[in-house]
Amino acid sequence: MNFDKAADNWTLGPVKPGRVRLDVRGRDPQTQITLINSAFQPIASEQDHLIRDLPPGLYKLRFQVGTLTHEIHQVLEATGQTVRVDAPWVEFDSPVPLADTRQALQAHGSAARERSQIVDVRHGIGGQLFIFVRDWNAPGSEHPGTGLTLHDLQGQQLVDLSKAGAWEEREGNSWAACNIELRPGSYRLRVDAGKEGMFEQIIVVCKDWQTQMFLLRREYSLQGQRVRRANLADAALLLSRPGEGFRSSYDPVSRIEEVARLALSQRQPYLPRPLLKGPPNLGFYAPMLGLYAAHSLLGRRTAEPKLSEPDLHVLHTLVDRLSISIPDHPDVDALQLWLGKSPSTSFHQPPMLLSSWSLIVEKTANHPGFVPANSLAANISRYLCGHGPWLIWQQDAATASPQPATPEIEFDEVEQALLASLRRTPSSQATEQPLTSGSPPFLDSLSIPRLVRQLELPSTVIEAAIAGLRQKLRTVPAHELSKLTGQRPARWAARSTRDLPSRIPSRSRLAQREHSRLFDVHTALRSPGRIADYSTFNKGKQGGGAGASGPIPALTVVAHPMPERVGDRCLLTGLVAGREVPISRNVPDFPRPGEALGLPLSDPGLSRKPWVLSPGAQPGAVRVDPGESRQVVIQGLAPQGPWELSPEQIADGMPIELGERVVVLLHLADPSVNEPANALGMVGNSIGVQVVRRHIEKVADLKVPVLIRGETGSGKELIAQALHKSGHRRDMPFMSVNLGAITKELAASELFGSAKGAFTGAVKKQGLFQAADGGTLFLDEVGEAPPEVQAILLRVLETGEFFPVGEHTPVRVDVRLVAATDALLEKQIQEGRFKEPLLHRLAGYEIRVPPLRERREDIGLLFHHFAREALESVNEAHRLKPEEPDVDPWLPTSLASRLVRYGWPGNIRQLRNLTRQIIIGSRGRSTLWLDPRLEEEISGFTPAPPVTPRPPSPMTPSFRIPAVIPSLPDKPPSSQRPKLADFSEEQIIAALEANNWEIKKATEQLGVARSTLYDWLNRSPHVSSANRMSRGDLARHLSECQGDLVLMSQRLKVSRWALVLRLKDLGLIQGEDD
């Protein structure tokens, strides 16, 4: 409330007889004050200031700040005097809301408070950076805080936190803390977790404030392995005055700061509107909350392209206050830039909030000069990306060679004071003095008499300090000198650019990429899925990055004994760079799209010896070299030498079976997209799905009618619902009607409603248009609508109003129309079966849904998604949660491979139905099984990719998979290859025994596909599996056979190859001879 309190008091006039004036003041403007009577009923509520004339009695006063509440009792006696109450300082018991953080801070609150008040290292003057980390040490080290280093923007290491600060080792509860005095500006905090990743967060230190950062370790289990992350997204970052120390018992503002930060990272509006009304002096005493509040306001623009006048007013005031409180702060500069105010700098320093960077980028799109081409921020923009609410530096691990550290110089207190005084000396005095190492002449500008008064020290002490400082500064490099002293020559920016490490590209090269990079970041900011919750960033593992553009080859896990691995993906950036990519049990990592860290395929049944992918002879082709692994199977065949897959085959997606354990799909993927696989309710990460998601995001908040085209069963209604749920109509009705199923006689009453008695049997009924008022009406199968229905639809679309049947008053509703069809409407128009104007009215925006065969990499995820539902219905959900990694795969690789290669004419609906049938048909079995009818169904139809003739390649002499896949379905016609069903069980076992249980040879003898024999072996109760045998049994047989594995495999009637793997896994035999 922005009113004059005294005037308000005056307005109320004198207190009436029998009344008492109660005057309650909030401690800060966002305090909500509620007056409660003795029956516990709220009788008045105001913000910041409440004044009432009340009868004498007992009352309660409730003070709320954000989500915090504090109540006091108030007695109003009939004294005739005004009772003045000031709000208490609302304290809360737990410091920050996050469970982990609270746990950390409750455990270490006193240590954090104590250490934050002591300066450990001085690397400048003007601001402080306090870092507190719990339970973190670099892999291989037990010392708390190892792997944490602070760097300047050029990458030079300033401080090793494990050496400079304090720490305490306690089992599972160690901490390290370091308070560094620094020159205001932006820095990079590096967290190095070794092979598990590295990230660097931009941290801004501002003048006369202490930036406090609380970092935690998060560990989680992934397939039995512990993976650690520096929990950056949940790290707390606060600004406090130096010397105040960390407040372990948080005041409400800090609490709101935390909630606001989380809300910002979740892109949820948190700050309630009343909080933003009134004198917004949040920025004065809580700058971080001021920044969050400003961005929360700007976040409303999603729904409203421009800020409303009141919001704009609040934002202006807020930014004015922030610019006083934390001047020169790049995050404030970004806000000023957006408001059209002149920022105080030219963005030499990057901000720390991702949303601030977004503002800079947004403005730069129209006015490139706002980030000067030669500024540091421009030069490093390609390294910046988002992480939670924060801006981080994408450190390329491959090029992250440690920079030589600047020698650390200790300055005593007097020297620090001198440096501070020097910094206050106008820089212009030194502008013409070249800053070089050596005796700094600007020290002469210090006034000793003034320092005597200022520091209250004898002049001799000050003179000695100046002499000492002069000596120390001789050894400081020029660019460091400018930081320490604040004496910046006019060409500082250019000098800084030259000081950048050589790995930062030259200006001319950056000039070409800079703008697109800025837009990349900007685009990412508009994409919530990009803000993934990973903490240790490793560009190498993510793949792509600034250099990657367009789809690149990738391997996606389609089937794995641990079903949670399905969907994990490895981007084959090495292929794009012309390198070989070895694949084995242990390399490379397969992170889930959207996450930085992942695990290798890891399955114990896979070989440690790699098979290799390399660029093919033809552009876009990929060569598969099975090497010595002998586990690679493509289309049911095990290549004996290098094979080459054509670009068409890769574009279509080629499944590769590995050791009867894992299936990966070689396909093309967009490296820049990192969304969760279920974003917007659509399962999948394929390029096709990503495109659809982008369309939805673009059009969701508009009223423009959308026409969704796609084959039957491809998920059109799901997309319509996603459109509805992503727009501002999400809380309003979503109505759906199948126009193909509606009769022309009832169409009008169904769509527009009817009056009672409008026709025989008619009752008063609300039509679908009215029911969807304010929301979305989904017209499914619009191509099947009878001509009469088309006509009435066209009428309402043209006029915007309609008449319910039997009514004479037109009705106007606010409905967003989404239509869908699998028909070729243009052809129907030519044939006169569909009205062309209706198409134009409905197709304000078109979205094409890709058929499932164009997104084969999603089939594994979709299959497991539907399987999960079906398994729960038969109480077998545990099939997808195996306890041991070496169990037999629940989804046989041959079946997974066929599922991926099948054409799916019925698309996702067909996949869902087929999944259910397989699950139910396999009920009680530990491995999925196909009955002959389903076998026939999925072997019956698979379209081949387009054929492009290719010249023979000298690089692929031994074998090449044809571009046209003649083996689809797997088996050739029965006239050419017999079916396994043609053989009796005795014949099959005899063939296996004759070939020493070698599957490959047995299938060659029988002339059947290996996959069918594997299926048969899995199903047959008369053959055993090495994987199902206990260690004791195997050890006994190994001893009895005296190590003869051929004899042992014959004796046990198991595949010799599987036996060798099993024995090695159990440690019963040694060697890498696989």
Partner: protein, 344 residues
């Protein structure tokens, strides 16, 4: 009293979590809420309309055997789907649906709370039932005229847990906007909900459920004897802090449209026993009790011992003062089963 034959309840209390640590209160909460729900003086819901889901005995030791899981809950809800879609019901399952969920929980986002199922563990928090989306589903489908949701579970923030949505196709009824709702959560977002042995019988119960049931059993009755959503909220917000130790905070949150308040029955406004203990120099001295209008209260307070006075008072603010000496304002709130203790 007539029973509300068209009211239904799904009540869940989960004590046993093999991987998250056992609780002691949720099953007590659930059974006590069920008892109130089926009592003619309480919710008056026929017992056959109430589904109570708790952990089977003996407790499971592995998450793979642990129950209940989402399957049991979804089945319970789906019985209501079936009922709503029976011939002649016109898409209406009943008048009011009560959903009560107690156990471990978390908040996948700022708005929601989710009850973790018995088979959940750290890293497997996808096994949960988010109360609000489920309740909202029934609102949107208008299977009931009124939806009541109470969740006594933590709302700690787990950013990585995906929100599990009701597994049913959306149903939008044209009468959805008329459906009344009343949602109560044990605590605010990102905060913990707590349980403790409650007096007089030391049964472990959630603070929220204790306060909620105290309100529903009459503590929340307003001056006209009505228990409404508004009065219930007011009561729980006032009463729950009295159950907590001094250093603990737990602030429930409520969500309802107060222009469409909900009726939870009627009761006589409770009368609450108050014990006033005098200490130090106050022992043996006369006291004066004043009501919220600072008027003396006569006839309701009497000396039992030199240092002990007893009174029976209705809910409200009071002041006790030693004549010519100190005074103290105190709150009388509750359902009459607990004594209010004042020390002067």
């Amino acid at each position: 009293m007539a029973m509300n034959k068209e009211d239904f309840g799904i009540i869940v209390g989960i004590n046993q979590y093999p991987e998250l640590g056992a609780l002691s209160g949720p099953e007590n909460d659930a059974t006590d809420f069920r008892d109130w729900l089926i009592s003619p003086e309480g919710g008056a819901v026929p017992p056959e309309n109430v589904t109570l889901i708790t952990c089977p005995q003996p407790p499971a030791t592995s998450v793979f055997q642990a129950q209940p899981t989402t399957v049991q809950l979804d089945n319970a809800f789906e019985h209501l789907h079936v009922r709503a879609n029976e011939d002649g019901r016109g898409g209406v399952a009943g008048r009011r649906l009560y959903i009560f969920l107690a156990g471990h929980g978390f908040a996948p986002n700022l708005e929601d709370a989710a009850l973790l199922m018995a088979n959940a563990s750290r890293g497997r928090t996808g096994h949960h039932i988010p109360g609000r989306p489920y309740a909202n589903w029934f609102r949107t489908a208008a299977y009931f005229e009124e939806i009541v949701l109470f969740m006594d579970c933590c709302r700690e923030n787990y950013r990585r847990a995906p929100l599990r949505l009701p597994p049913w196709e959306d149903e939008h009824s044209e009468t959805a906007k008329d459906v009344r709702y009343f949602y109560g959560f044990a605590t605010e977002w990102s905060r913990a909900a707590r349980e403790t042995p409650q007096q007089p019988d030391s049964r472990v119960m959630g603070h929220f459920t204790t306060a909620l049931l105290a309100g529903l059993r009459g503590g929340a009755a307003d001056e006209l004897g009505r228990i409404t959503g508004r009065s219930l909220k007011r009561f729980v917000l006032g009463y729950l802090p009295t159950l907590l130790p001094a250093d603990q905070h737990q602030v429930p949150t409520f969500d309802f449209d107060d222009t469409k308040d909900m009726d939870f029955g009627a009761a006589q406004p409770p009368v609450i026993p108050v014990r006033i203990t005098l200490t130090g120099s106050s022992v043996g001295r006369e006291i004066q009790l004043q009501d919220g209008w600072l008027q003396p209260v006569f006839g309701k307070v009497q000396r039992v011992q030199p240092d002990l006075w007893r009174a029976t008072l209705s809910c409200g603010l009071y002041r006790v003062r030693i004549l010519g000496g100190t005074s103290k304002v105190f709150e009388v709130i509750g359902d009459g089963t607990r004594e209010v203790h004042v020390e002067l």
